[in-house]
């Protein structure tokens, strides 16, 4: 029984990280209908930016984190405005190929600059601290912080989309990017803002992820697949769905890891394919 509870608890904590990875992708899917195949590589890229800021520039971690968020927003805004806006259309092919090309470029530039060694961000000994609950279940502080961050960001994004003028512009642009121009909304600028915000989400994910584990330049595709699975399992169009999708994926992987370390990721993929067959709209599809 304790084993089962432990699997679920650790799965939820792992799933919080996947949910965080996926939220940026969910935003990009939702607003631009853009399939960003470089999503995972952007996470890895920001991990290495943070690593460069703390290890090469030797900034204190707190300063580096704030700076990372600013850099991320600017990078996302610039990327969408300069490159991706040119290829986002109803035809998925150009944007797929451009982001796929970006993915290869990012991986190899990072290998060239930082070598293929995995890197992590030192946090003192915070990453290894934990509390032990009754029954011998341990909860790491860092995974708990990740869970809190994911919940907080899911609330924030839901609020941003539902309650603010910017969120209204996002939803309207997603529905019809030609018509919104008649209301004085530039879809190019809206897309760039959405990508900027997606990059801020990615930066938070990158920071928490790099404190938890060592990241190597070629880890991007695996992160992309996990976030994609979380988005689809949860159901597109709702950040809570993405959150739940991340949890489901995390639990499935933990169950796999329990039986054999080689089958963890595999069981995550199989769970995703199972949901796709049994419930293609996802667990929590947007009803409106």
């Amino acid at each position: 029984m304790n084993t089962l509870i432990n699997i679920v608890v650790q799965g939820v904590l792992l799933g919080a990280l996947y949910g965080l990875f996926a939220m940026g992708q969910s935003l990009v899917f939702g607003v631009m209908r853009l399939t960003n195949t470089a999503h995972g590589d952007f996470i890895v890229l920001l991990v290495f930016v943070l690593f460069a800021l703390t290890s090469f520039v030797r900034l204190p971690l707190a300063v580096a984190l704030v700076l990372l968020l600013v850099i991320a927003f600017a990078a996302g805004y610039g990327l969408q405005y300069a490159i991706l806006n040119r290829v986002s259309s109803r035809d998925p092919l150009p944007s797929l190929i451009v982001t796929f090309g970006l993915s290869i470029v990012i991986q190899n530039v990072l290998q060239q600059v930082f070598s293929a060694d995995p890197r992590s961000i030192a946090t003192g000994s915070f990453e290894s601290r934990s509390i032990t609950l009754a029954g011998g279940i341990t909860l790491g502080y860092l995974p708990l912080v990740t869970l809190v961050a994911t919940v907080a960001l899911a609330f924030a994004m839901q609020w941003l989309f539902g309650r603010t003028p910017l969120g209204r512009a996002f939803r309207a642009t997603s529905d019809d990017r030609e018509i919104v121009q008649l209301m004085g909304v530039s879809y190019r600028r809206t897309y760039a803002l959405a990508m900027g915000i997606a990059f801020v989400l990615i930066a938070v994910a990158a920071a928490l992820y790099s404190m938890r584990t060592a990241v190597s330049p070629t880890d991007g595709p695996a992160l992309l697949l996990s976030s994609f699975e979380a988005v689809i399992i949860g159901g597109m169009g709702s950040f809570w769905g993405t959150f739940v999708g991340g949890m489901a994926l995390g639990i499935a992987q933990q169950v796999g890891f329990y039986f054999d370390p080689g089958w963890g990721i595999w069981l995550g993929h199989v769970a995703f394919l199972g949901v796709l067959v049994a419930r293609p709209q996802g667990l929590l599809p947007k009803t409106a």
């Binding site: 209908r33 853009l34 399939t35 195949t37 490159i83 040119r86 290829v87 259309s89 109803r90 035809d91 998925p92 092919l93 150009p94 944007s95 797929l96 190929i97 451009v98 796929f100 090309g101 970006l102 993915s103 290869i104 470029v105 991986q107 190899n108 530039v109 290998q111 060239q112 595709p221 992309l224 697949l225 994609f228 699975e229 689809i232 054999d260 080689g262 089958w263 990721i265 595999w266 993929h269 199989v270 995703f272 394919l273 796709l276 067959v277 293609p280």
Partner: protein
């Protein structure tokens, strides 16, 4: 319909061949004969190069069929490449079938596997389909990596060929490669020229409109997916007969699709000539620049981005538009004959704004 038009004594005819296409057929036959005789004049490296080039080319042709004609962009074709390789190896190592016979059987197996896979993958569309197919390929990779009989993550060797003399093995591999390339190009050409091919092109340009004209879009998509899986598995089986060693990371590597995409985009999406031009370019680049490692891959990625953004029709698309050249004309041209004395001139005029059903690189 074409038949009716041809029989009618009206002032026009429907042309399907061009002068360039007749020349191309002859040139290709000469190339095929040259390659077939390679064991008597070429070195071992050259023969091995051809087998590799053939694998890349067939992979790219099949990716092009899927994306450029079927409108389905997949990042998971390496699934069938790997299945082709592993099925060939299992048949050869454990069932005692000659690897050269096992390659086509493996392709049939991959096609059968593709049926349930398509049911899952077709739940997704557009970009979601692309990443979904990648997940499926990863699931296959991890499955094979966890099967210890097949060597697990570190892979295994094709031992069935160890008693065959090296020269004979290399010649047979070369002929197998030639046969696969020739049948892939030939069958694709015939398929795209057929009524089904016309339906496919119509579907790619506008699925809703094609459907309203009686094209069974779902069925056409499935057939394209299965044919593409079959061809990709042939490429995979061939590659690992030439390579003699297989591992899950090599067989199910996403790089196969990355290279396939690069070849097709550089050469020209939605044409038969494009992947051939692209494969040659890629092969030359790979040969001379792959020593640069990361810089080489950065260059390939950047080139793919630039081409997609600024030259979406690719190199062949550019040449074909600029010079009106078609080596594998899959379209139908209406040529008017009743122009009297200046017949030659009107030929030209009519065919420039002729009724073309092929053409236009994939755009929506």
């Amino acid at each position: 319909m074409t038949m009716q038009l041809n029989q009618r004594p009206a002032g026009f005819e429907v042309r399907r061949a061009t002068r360039a296409s007749r020349v191309a057929v002859i040139v290709l036959l000469i190339v095929a004969l040259t390659v077939a005789s390679a064991p008597w004049w070429a070195g071992r490296d050259a023969m091995r190069d051809f087998v590799q080039l053939a694998s890349y080319l067939v992979f790219a042709l099949m990716w092009n069929l899927l994306a450029g004609y079927g409108g389905m962009v997949s990042i998971g074709q390496q699934a069938f490449f790997g299945i082709g390789g592993y099925a060939m190896l299992i048949l050869a190592n454990y069932c005692g079938i000659s690897p050269f016979v096992a390659v086509p059987i493996a392709a049939v197996i991959a096609t059968v596997v593709a049926i349930p896979v398509s049911m899952v993958a077709f739940r997704l569309e557009g970009g979601y389909f692309a990443i979904g197919t990648w997940v499926i390929a990863e699931a296959f990779r991890l499955t094979v990596a966890n099967v210890s009989v097949l060597g697990g993550g570190s892979g295994t060797s094709l031992i069935a060929l160890q008693d065959v003399p090296r020269a004979l093995r290399e010649s047979l591999t070369l002929w197998l490669a030639l046969a696969i390339v020739a049948s892939a190009i030939g069958l694709l050409y015939l398929f795209l020229r057929s009524k089904a091919g016309l339906a496919l092109t119509a579907m790619r340009d506008n699925a809703v409109a094609a459907s309203s004209q009686g094209v069974d879009v779902k069925r056409a998509r499935l057939i394209v997916y299965l044919v593409s899986a079959c061809g990709t598995a042939l490429a995979g089986g061939l590659y690992f007969v030439g390579n003699l060693r297989i591992s899950p990371d090599a067989a199910f590597s996403v790089n196969w699709t990355a290279f396939g995409i690069f070849i097709v985009m550089i050469g020209g999406l939605g044409t038969l000539e494009g992947p051939m031009v692209g494969a040659l370019i890629f092969f030359v680049l790979n040969r001379f620049l792959s020593d640069f490692g990361t810089w080489y891959l950065i260059g390939l990625g950047a080139l793919a981005i630039v081409v997609t953004m600024f030259f979406p029709q690719g190199l062949w698309g550019f040449v074909s538009r600029r010079y009106g050249l078609q080596l594998f004309p899959v379209g139908r041209r209406v040529v008017f004959r009743d122009a009297g004395p200046s017949e030659q001139a009107s030929h030209h005029d009519a065919s420039t704004d002729s009724v073309e059903t092929s053409s236009a690189p994939h755009r929506a």
